[in-house]
Symmetry: C2
Subunit: 420 residues, 2 copies
């Protein structure tokens, strides 16, 4: 499909036309000639920007939004989340993920990294929604080697079956964490990732307890232990990284792994620390931003996430100049962490056509002294009018296909799963 967006505003280029062909941006320039057969629409009053990237979430957990907030972590997991998750079917995960994808589209996210149960439920939801995502079936083998073997067999099977989806669905290995996955399965993931060039997405150093337990059991801190299993590679996405020390950050920098910070979730669950962004950025570590699941955020709006990210870093460092808006915007558009965005973050000819059109008339982004500051510090996802991913319009004038059906299905399933 060929698209021609006329007369749209880019904050660094002014009024231009954007031509899109075969999922890519073909040209950006003022007054481009019309292409025969192209779908053409007027972008007047709109600003075009890159889509946002959510580097760590559990999409289907939107089913559990608000189901047990303000509780101690273990009480919440044991009395709410785990009993509900035990009942989950692939269909539940499909509809929960569809609802999450709808919320993400409505708030300008074009690509995300997911980790949850029922691989095909997630993958099909991503496929149908039109978004891009790294999708993996979570691997947990605390029950022993039998469970470990099942997890590994499953990963092999899902990699093969993932061929049925488009390129937007990227199969990813998702071992849950160092404290829930055996050394054997971690090493196996490293080898399997190397052999098939697969990304690996894992929680790391989210709580102080994780660190002290790791030291107690393995004699080393979490990043060192993960490296011993061969899992710190340029293909690795580390979610959280709150309690990484300087030595661990240096090791991660050396290995080229990506860290995804989840500031809202970390604050809501009161993990106590703050991701050492400044040190990580100094070392050149690729850094992304994630919402975590809607059960611990409870929003998937990356506009709100990037604001909180900048605020908590300024607060923690006692310095208002830390993480200025232009830098924060780079992080949330995935520019600094190519592994998580599937090539997003740049509006230029030849790049993926993953584009947001924003309504410049929303009062919260007026006046335009600094457009990027307005996006980082004042906008919410509701300034997004139109979302284009891989050249396809997923939302226009804030309308998404199947919206009512998705909401009704997901809501009904959520209600039936979540009985206290």
């Amino acid at each position: 499909m060929t698209l021609h967006i006329k007369n749209v505003w880019l904050y660094d280029q002014g009024q231009v036309d954007i031509q899109i062909d075969a999922g890519k941006i073909k040209a950006i320039a003022p007054n481009l000639p019309e292409i025969d057969g192209a779908e053409s629409f007027d972008g007047n009053g709109m600003a075009a920007v890159s889509g946002l990237v959510n580097g760590h979430t559990h999409a289907a957990m939107s089913l559990f939004r608000g189901f047990g907030d303000d509780m101690q972590l273990m009480e919440w997991l044991q009395t709410r989340i785990w009993p509900a998750e035990a009942k989950l079917t692939e269909e539940d995960v499909y509809w929960g993920s569809r609802m999450a994808c709808m919320e993400m589209i409505r708030s300008g996210t074009v690509a995300f990294e997911d980790m949850y149960w029922h691989f095909h439920g997630m993958a099909k939801a991503v496929e149908d929604s039109g978004l891009r995502a790294g999708v993996g079936a979570v691997m947990i083998d605390i029950a022993g080697e039998k469970q470990g073997q099942e997890c590994r067999d499953q990963a092999v099977q899902y990699l093969e079956e993932s061929g049925r989806y488009s390129d937007r669905v990227k199969f990813t290995l998702t071992p849950h964490a160092i404290y829930t996955v055996s050394a054997k399965s971690l090493s196996w993931s490293a080898e399997f990732s190397d052999k098939h060039n697969l990304p690996v997405h894992i929680h790391l150093s989210e709580t102080a307890f994780e660190v002290s337990e790791c030291i107690k059991q393995n004699g080393v801190r979490p990043a060192v232990y993960l490296d011993q299993q061969g899992l710190l590679t340029p293909r690795t996405i580390l979610a959280h990284g709150v309690y990484l020390d300087d030595d661990e950050l240096e090791l991660i920098a050396k290995r080229g792994s990506t860290i995804v910070s989840n500031p809202v979730s970390n604050m809501k669950l009161a993990v106590g620390g703050v991701f050492p962004y400044q040190k990580a950025a100094e070392l050149g570590i690729p850094i992304g931003l994630g919402s975590d699941g809607a059960a611990s955020n409870n929003s998937l709006d990356m506009f709100q996430e990037v604001k909180t990210f900048s605020l908590i870093q300024k607060h923690a460092n006692n310095d208002p100049t830390v993480l200025p808006s232009a830098k924060a915007w780079q992080v949330v558009t995935g520019v600094d962490a190519p592994l998580i965005g599937q090539g997003s973050g740049v509006l230029a000819a030849g790049e993926n056509a993953d584009i947001l059109l924003l309504n410049r008339d929303e009062p919260e982004i007026c006046p335009e002294h600094d457009f990027v500051s307005n996006l980082v510090y004042s906008a919410t996802g509701h300034v997004v009018d139109t979302v284009i991913v891989a050249g396809k319009i997923l939302m226009k004038n804030r309308v998404i296909d199947q919206e009512l059906e998705i909401r009704q299905e997901a809501t009904a399933r959520a209600k039936s799963l979540c009985k206290v």
Copy 2:
């Protein structure tokens, strides 16, 4: 005007009708009979909740949104804000405040406490917007007694002139802070407030520097010094309160003053501390929430503010159970601090008709396991469809009168004021 909202949902009562007459709620019950001549509309699909209260802002500073973020405080004030403010006219303040009121209406705020220059610019903007506000001309007399006398004369004059506005505009004394207002003007404010039963709205204990300077100059901490001037009373609104210690909190509790926390502004300006909410709440101090001005937030959306409030309190206290959503919702609707909301926070017969209708279909507030949690942790101001203040509809289907004119006027003035 008489209004009849049919078939709207209250999270604690289910489907009801709401009748509004002469600015007050007349009745709330299922299937109320129609009143002759009433404007009637269907609230199906909507949830009715109390309007939100913004306990501390500088509305017209919306003109300066994004004009110098991520800078050290003094550099920002000296190179950006003060030069721009020096050029401000009453008309600028009017249009800047109108834009702020528009943003507040669009995000569900029904009442706010303002502090800025050009009293009539602010007051007329509040009057025309339909909102409620405490409005005062900021008092600063660092230049000496001549300036002090002018400020005091001005307050006397503005109190008299405030009679030209409706009851929604509440004249308030607004001495800026203990470090910018002389002891003489502070004591005068105390007496004048007492004589005319006027609220007093002042910044207090925002930075560690303010505290150490106060101790150096006066031998006591800020709240004690303010009390020595007679200014800690049940009519006093203290904005920030970040560095209040236990003794100061006990004194404030004894005096019955209100504290308004501004978490986003405090984090963005990196003041370093966090308002001691838990201790203040334990002592029964009336607590409200404020956005501060759009130049240091940069949003006026109280839905975002209340989320950050809960997050930073959980983070600072290392405890996810702190400030649960139901309590946070009470704070942001002004229930806990009657001084700032002009009687808002309760939907019941006889109360002010300050009501929001929220769109229950927004995906970020689905499913409805816990409606209030959804509002606090996931909603933004964009879930607000309709705003009613004092029985008058200020926004319906997200449309506000004069929206284009306000945005254009304010934007043009902002551009001309803010030249670096």
